[in-house]
């Protein structure tokens, strides 16, 4: 089963900040561990919410607003998608994630929808 780790409320140091090299090494070590277990499907840090744009289409009209969908104190900073045999394994990996020591990580199973085709472009074009 695949799980998404949503990383909340975790300040990310910039490349010029003190401690950046250590933080990067810790995050890369976490990704290494996920890869070693064959669990890492993907993941990325997100730009801050100030860069977010929210869109909806109603009655054929597209409405675009500046900012995130919900204004909360919880800031979604990034995500991983991990393939794990059970929630326990996903929770175990989430506990190893360096961001868990600073912010909080929400672990959500990905839903299986019969017939849904979400192959990324490189797989779709090779017909796999």
């Amino acid at each position: 089963m695949q799980y998404m780790l949503l990383i909340y409320n975790c300040e990310r140091p910039g490349p010029a900040d003190q401690g950046f090299a250590e933080a990067l090494a810790a995050v890369n070590a976490f990704a290494d561990e996920c890869r070693r277990r064959g669990a890492l499907v993907g993941g990325a840090p997100l730009q801050p919410e100030s860069t977010a744009t929210t869109l909806s289409v109603r009655d054929g009209r597209t409405l675009i607003t500046d900012g995130p969908f919900v204004e909360t104190h919880e800031h979604l900073g990034g995500y991983y998608v991990l393939d794990c045999p059970s929630l326990d394994e996903a929770l175990e990996l989430a506990a190893l994630c360096p961001m868990a020591a600073v912010g909080s990580i929400e672990v959500r199973p990905l839903a299986g929808v019969p017939g849904l085709d979400h192959r990324p472009v490189d797989l779709a074009t090779t017909g796999e």
């Binding site: 089963m1 799980y3 059970s86 929630l87 326990d88 996903a90 929770l91 199973p109």
Partner: protein
């Protein structure tokens, strides 16, 4: 003259319900499906047992329940993965081999009852849901009885149970958990089934 199998079915169900449920939850990874399948198996036992009760009624019920579960999955055309898991996976063996085992099967199932407690008490479930689920699945209390202990409405409690069972299925909560902060509290509740207010005494730290 055919003797009604009802008393035998009832006795087997009463004595072995938790063990059978544990084996099924473990094999299926789906609480509601396991409960439904066990009900199906009991209904079939009522129709079939008549004069002849199987040598190992528990094994009979488990095998029928497993087949009923596969039928339900097939009918629902959902859980294709689960169906494969049942037909090929290592977990399926624990149930399919039940047919060949007599008393031994019960000993195996005994272990799974503990795993059922671990599943019910998984820290990913809300604490009250953990306690309620364990009381229902392991101790066999009804939603109504548990609702009175928690001083909540039966509908509310039933909804909590359903939510917890669906989370176990959908989030892939396994039964092999080591951290179990709910267990001390459950023992506490079971000892005091008839004195609901004791629930609100501070539970000993687990």
């Amino acid at each position: 003259m055919t003797v009604s199998p009802a008393p035998v079915v009832e006795r087997v169900y009463r004595e072995h319900r938790a063990r059978m449920l544990a084996a099924l939850v473990r094999a299926l990874g789906d609480f509601e499906l396991a409960e439904d399948a066990l009900q199906d198996a009991c209904a079939m036992a009522l129709r079939r047992w008549g004069d002849l009760v199987p040598d190992d009624p528990v094994a009979w019920l488990l095998t029928v329940a497993r087949n009923q579960a596969i039928d339900r999955l097939r009918r629902a055309r959902l859980g294709r993965d689960k169906q494969e898991q049942l037909e090929q996976g290592p977990r399926a063996d624990t149930v399919t081999t039940m047919t060949d085992l007599g008393e031994e099967s019960l000993r195996d199932v005994g272990d799974e009852r503990l795993s059922l407690i671990f599943t019910c008490c998984h820290p990913a479930l809300a604490e009250q849901a953990r306690v309620a689920l364990t009381l229902q699945a392991v101790a066999g209390l009804t939603a109504g009885q548990i609702a009175r202990m928690f001083l909540v409405g039966e509908t509310t409690l039933a909804q909590r149970l359903v939510r917890a069972k669906r989370k176990i299925r959908d989030a892939g909560i396994s039964e092999e958990v080591q951290i179990v902060p709910g267990i001390g509290r459950i023992a506490h509740c079971q000892d005091n089934q008839h004195t609901p207010f004791s629930l609100y005494e501070p539970a000993s730290q687990d």
